[in-house]
C-alpha cells in the first residue's frame, strides 16, 4: 500500500468522521431547543462554559450529555445474548458512517487526491448507498433480539417490518432521478443539476422528492413514523435494554443515518452542492450542501413537533397502498413526459406535459388517499368514558 493511497484515504474519510459527529452534537441541541419552543418551553439553556455562569443558550448541553453517557453504568441483562448485545450498536453505527462516503461532498482539499478512494465516484454509488443503508435494519433486529425483552423484540420486529416496507418507495422514487440523469454515479447526478436545474423543480421530481422525504422519515424512524421506539407503547423499543455508551452509539447512528439520507435527498433532488456564488468561491459547494441537509433536518424536527404517531396498520397501509403505487405511477409519468419533450421540443409542449403531470399526480394521490384510508373505526370503550 503506497503512501499516496494512505494520504487519500485519510483526506477522504477523516473530514467525514469529524464534521458529521460534530454536526450531530449541534443537531441534538437544535432539536431540543426547537421542540421546546414549539411546546412553549425554553429548552436547554444552562450549560455553557464550565465553572462559569455563562449559558451560551445551552450549547454545552451535548457535551454534558456525552460525558454523562460515557460514564454511565453499562447494563447487560442477565438473559441477553452478550455478543450480539455488544455488536448491535456498533453494527448500527457502521453502515450509517459508511454511506456518508457516497455523498458527493467536494471538499476543497479534493484536488490533492488522486480520486480513487472517493466512493461517490463509483459507477453504482446510489445502489451502494441503498444496499449499505439497509444493513441498519439488521442491527436493529439484532438489538431487539439480543436483549431478550418483549418490548425490545416488539420494537425490533416493528422496525424491521417498517424499514423493509419503506425501502421500496424510497428506492423507486430515486429511480426516477436515476432515469432522468442516466447514471447511478452520484457525482454525475450532481453535475446534471448544476445551474439550478434541480430535479425538485420538475413535476415528477417534486412528487418523487415528497415520496422520498416521507419514506426517508420512516426509514430513519423519525416521527411521525417512530413506532419502533414509541415510548408510550413499548418503552423505548429495541434499545430499551441499552444504557451508557452503547445507547449513545445507537443515538449517534440514528442521527448520522438522518444526515446521510438527507444528504442523498439533497444529491438526488436539491442539486447537491449547487448554489449561488460558486463561480467566485468553489469551496462554497460544501457549505451549500450542508446547509441544504440542515434545511431538511429542520423540517424533520418541525414535523416531529407537529404530527402525532401513526398506528401500525396505518403505517403499513400508507407504505403499500399509497406511496408504492404513487411512486410507480410517477416513474411512468416521468418516462412519458421525457419522451414527449424529446418528440416535441418547445415551450408549449413542456407547459402542457408539466400541467398534465402535476394534475395527474395530484388526482392519483387523491384517489389513492381515498382508497388507502384505514377502515378501522375509533375504538369503543365499554367502561371508560
Amino acid at each position: 500500500m503506497s503512501l499516496e493511497l494512505i494520504k487519500d484515504i485519510l483526506l477522504a474519510t477523516v473530514p467525514l468522521l469529524v464534521i458529521f459527529p460534530s454536526l450531530f452534537a449541534f443537531t441534538t441541541w437544535m432539536e431540543r431547543k426547537a421542540l421546546a419552543r414549539i411546546q412553549n418551553r425554553i429548552g436547554p439553556n444552562k450549560i455553557g462554559i464550565p465553572c462559569t455562569r455563562i449559558g451560551l443558550f445551552g450549547l454545552g448541553q451535548p457535551a454534558a450529555d456525552g460525558i454523562k453517557m460515557i460514564f454511565k453504568e453499562d447494563i447487560v441483562p442477565r438473559g441477553a445474548d452478550k455478543l450480539f448485545h455488544l455488536l448491535a450498536p456498533i453494527l448500527a453505527l457502521i453502515p450509517a458512517m459508511l454511506i456518508l462516503c457516497f455523498l458527493p461532498l467536494e471538499f476543497p482539499w479534493g484536488k490533492f487526491m488522486s480520486g480513487q478512494v472517493q466512493a461517490f465516484l463509483l459507477d453504482s454509488a446510489v445502489i451502494f448507498f441503498f444496499a449499505i443503508s439497509g444493513l441498519a435494519t439488521l442491527a436493529i433486529f439484532m438489538a431487539g433480539w439480543a436483549s431478550r425483552n418483549k418490548y425490545s423484540l416488539l420494537g425490533g420486529m416493528r422496525a424491521v417490518a417498517q424499514m423493509v416496507s419503506y425501502e421500496i418507495p424510497l428506492v423507486l422514487s430515486a429511480v426516477v432521478v436515476v432515469m432522468m440523469a442516466g447514471s447511478l454515479n452520484a457525482k454525475e447526478i450532481a453535475d446534471v443539476q448544476t445551474g439550478f436545474n434541480w430535479f425538485v423543480l420538475t413535476p415528477w421530481g417534486l412528487a418523487a422528492f415528497i415520496v422520498f422525504f416521507v419514506a426517508a422519515l420512516a426509514e430513519t424512524n423519525r416521527s411521525p413514523f417512530d413506532l419502533p421506539e414509541a415510548e408510550s407503547e413499548i418503552i423505548a423499543g429495541y434499545f430499551t435494554e441499552y444504557s451508557g455508551f452503547k445507547f449513545a452509539l445507537f443515538f449517534l447512528g440514528e442521527y448520522i443515518a438522518m444526515f446521510a439520507i438527507s444528504g442523498l435527498a439533497v444529491t438526488l433532488f436539491l442539486g447537491a452542492g449547487d448554489g449561488p456564488f460558486l463561480a467566485v468561491a468553489p469551496w462554497l459547494s460544501v457549505v451549500w450542501f450542508i446547509a441544504k441537509i440542515f434545511g431538511l433536518i429542520a423540517v424533520m424536527i418541525w414535523l416531529r413537533g407537529t404530527l402525532p404517531r401513526l398506528r401500525v396498520d396505518q403505517l403499513m397501509a400508507f407504505a403499500w397502498k399509497f406511496l408504492l403505487p404513487l411512486s410507480i405511477f410517477n416513474i411512468l409519468l416521468a418516462g412519458m413526459s421525457h419522451h414527449v419533450t424529446v418528440a416535441y421540443p418547445g415551450t408549449t409542449a413542456q407547459v402542457v406535459t408539466w400541467t398534465v403531470s402535476l394534475v395527474g399526480m395530484y388526482v392519483m394521490a387523491k384517489g389513492l388517499d381515498k382508497i388507502s384510508r384505514s377502515t378501522a373505526k375509533p375504538r369503543e370503550y365499554l367502561y371508560a368514558e
Binding site: 414549539i38 412553549n40 418551553r41 418541525w302 407537529t306 395530484y362
Partner: protein, 233 residues
C-alpha cells in the same frame, strides 16, 4: 373536498406560531420555572445551609410558578400534623394509581381527626418517587381532599433504594403551605370543601329536624294512642 395533506400544513402553521411566539411573549411559558442565580457569596455553602423550613426549597433563588405540579403530598389542617391529618386510609388512591407507587397501611384503631370525629388514619403512607409519574390521578379520586400535588422538585438523593421512598411524615404538609404554593387551587378547594361541609351540615340539620319532628309526631301519636287506649279502658 379538502386539499391533500392540508391538515399537515395547518398543524405546521400552528407549531410555527408557537415557535416564533415563544420568543416574543413571556406569557406563553405557563409551565416554566424561572431560576435566578445568586452571587457566589450568597450561595449555601453546605447541605446544612439549605433553608429547611417547611415547604421552602431554595425559595429565594427559585420562583416556582403556581401552575407547577410535581409530586403528591398529604394535607393536614392547622395544628399538630398527625392530629389533623385529612387522610383516612381509604386506599382509593392506592388502587387507582397507574404505576402503583403508593403503599398504604391502615391503622388498627381509630383516632379523632380535626373535626373531632373518630377515623382511621394511615399507619404507613409511602410513595416511590422513582415510580410516580406525576399524573395527579390520586388527587382526582381522593374524596377527602387529603392528597394534592406539591411543586417541590428537589427530590434527588444519593440513596438509590430507601432514599427514593417518601414516608408519611415527609409527605405531610399543612394547608397553609398548600395555600402558599397553589393559591388559586387551594382557595377554590377550600371554598368547595366549605360549601360541601355547609351543605352536609344543612342536610344533617334538616335530617335532625325531620327526625325530631318525626319523633315528636311519633310521641304525639303514641300519647294519643295511649290516651285512646286509656279511653277504651
Amino acid at each position: 373536498m379538502s386539499i391533500l395533506g392540508g391538515g399537515i400544513f395547518k398543524g405546521m402553521a400552528v407549531t410555527l406560531r408557537n415557535f416564533v411566539g415563544s420568543y416574543f411573549s413571556k406569557e406563553r411559558f405557563i409551565t416554566t420555572n424561572e431560576y435566578s442565580w445568586r452571587p457566589e457569596s450568597e450561595l449555601p455553602q453546605s447541605i446544612g445551609d439549605y433553608p429547611k423550613e417547611e415547604g421552602e426549597q431554595l425559595s429565594d433563588t427559585t420562583t416556582v410558578n403556581h401552575y407547577s405540579r410535581n409530586f403528591p403530598m398529604l394535607l393536614h389542617d392547622t395544628g399538630e400534623p398527625m392530629d389533623t391529618i385529612r387522610c383516612v386510609a381509604c386506599q382509593i388512591c392506592e388502587r387507582e394509581c397507574p404505576p402503583q407507587c403508593i403503599y398504604i397501611e391502615k391503622s388498627t384503631e381509630k383516632k379523632e381527626n380535626a373535626d373531632g370525629k373518630p377515623q382511621f388514619y394511615p399507619a404507613k403512607f409511602d410513595i416511590d418517587v422513582s415510580v410516580c409519574m406525576s399524573c395527579q390521578i390520586c388527587v382526582e379520586v381522593c374524596p377527602f381532599d387529603a392528597i394534592v400535588m406539591n411543586s417541590q422538585f428537589e427530590l434527588s438523593t444519593p440513596d438509590r433504594f430507601g432514599g427514593l421512598l417518601v414516608r408519611r411524615d415527609d409527605l405531610l404538609k399543612s394547608n397553609d403551605y398548600y395555600h402558599k404554593i397553589h393559591p388559586q387551587e387551594a382557595a377554590t378547594r377550600d371554598e368547595r370543601m366549605a360549601a360541601d361541609k355547609a351543605a352536609k351540615e344543612a342536610k344533617k340539620k334538616a335530617a335532625a329536624e325531620k327526625a325530631k319532628a318525626a319523633a315528636e309526631a311519633k310521641a304525639a301519636a303514641a300519647e294519643a294512642a295511649n290516651e285512646s287506649k286509656e279511653d277504651t279502658e
